[in-house]
């Protein structure tokens, strides 16, 4: 029935139509509903799957590197904090380490953000999507 509905709408739209136009529209609608052949390689779906797998592997590798960097950063910052605490009373060492404190603080913030982003926000969001 859709074909007729479409034709009626089209005829109403075409103000200059006559009886012959209505017949032409009938013929046109018949042709428009014929699907044009298109070539899709049979292995298309497996190509997409292979690409997805490769992408996931790359992402997993990147995540591992980021996580390793984050852990290294935490360990490094912890070590530096212990250094600062242990150097209380030794004025010379304390001053030299204290100069780098803003850099360490920034590194710590970045590391904390990375950990939060990777372990809490991203995974949590995915779990929400999955309805877990």
């Amino acid at each position: 029935m859709k074909q007729h509905k479409g034709i009626r709408e089209q005829i109403d739209f075409d103000a200059s139509r006559d009886k012959q136009d209505e017949e032409l529209y009938e013929l046109l609608f018949e042709q428009l509903e014929k699907e044009k052949e298109i070539t899709i390689h049979p292995s298309f779906s497996s190509t997409v799957m292979d690409k997805l797998k490769a992408k996931h592997k790359k992402e997993a590798r990147k995540d591992t590197i980021m996580f390793a960097l984050a852990i290294t950063g935490v360990l490094f910052f912890s070590f530096m904090t212990l250094q600062v605490i242990s150097s209380f009373g030794k004025s010379e060492s304390f001053v030299s380490i204290g100069m780098f404190m803003p850099v360490f603080a920034l590194a710590a913030l970045l590391v904390t953000f990375q950990l939060l982003d990777h372990n809490l926000i991203r995974k949590k969001r995915i779990k929400q999507h999955l309805g877990i």
């Binding site: 479409g6 075409d14 046109l28 042709q31 699907e35 779906s45 997409v48 997805l52 995915i126």
Partner: protein, 186 residues
């Protein structure tokens, strides 16, 4: 398998289910991309990107619309974005150029004689239409989508969708009239 179980299965990690989803909707995606770009080489590559996006975005799909409409929207937007990036012109000017070209490329007597059938003649003329016209014709007539579904996919107002559809058919009808006159003469 219905779409709801298919999506659930994919989200559960079933890779075969996603391959099945690709096979179910590859025709829609290929046709849509093909209607928007005439570059044959680009079609398969763009279709691959579309299904990768579908996989990534699937956890966020809430069945507010049909799965086919949702996949169609991704295909449409991705293709338009790629066309915008690769073309120096804006997409709008690209469309205007296409429309202008259509009017310049109107059917010649040779075109009429070359076409062996009405189908071939109509298809040839559809290919000459601007991308948006071809796309709405495909979604409406082949995919049998409703106006709201086409609006959702293209992001165009319903009035624009109808205008493209009616205008495309009118242009095709005018060309078809010339072909039929030749048929009568022979």
């Amino acid at each position: 398998m219905d779409d709801q179980s298919l999506v659930k299965s994919v989200l559960g990690g079933n890779q075969q289910a996603f391959e099945f989803l690709i096979r179910k909707y590859e025709k829609l995606v290929f046709h849509m991309i093909h209607k928007l770009t005439r570059e044959e080489v680009m079609v398969e590559e763009l279709a691959q990107d579309v299904f990768m996006k579908v996989y990534e975005k699937l956890p966020g799909f809430r069945f507010d619309s049909k799965l086919s409409t949702w996949i169609g929207t991704i295909a449409y937007r991705h293709t338009i974005n790629v066309l915008k990036k690769t073309s120096k012109m804006t997409y709008k000017s690209l469309e205007e150029a296409n429309e202008e070209q259509f009017f310049k490329e109107k059917t010649t007597p040779a075109d009429i004689l070359e076409a062996s059938s009405v189908s071939q003649f109509v298809q040839k003329n559809i290919d000459k239409l601007p991308a948006h016209y071809r796309n709405v014709l495909y979604l409406y007539h082949i995919e049998e989508m409703s106006y709201p579904e086409i609006v959702e996919i293209t992001g165009m107002p319903e009035g624009t969708v109808k205008n493209y559809l009616f205008r495309a058919r009118k242009l095709l009808k005018e060309e078809l009239s010339k072909y039929m006159q030749k048929e009568e003469l022979l």
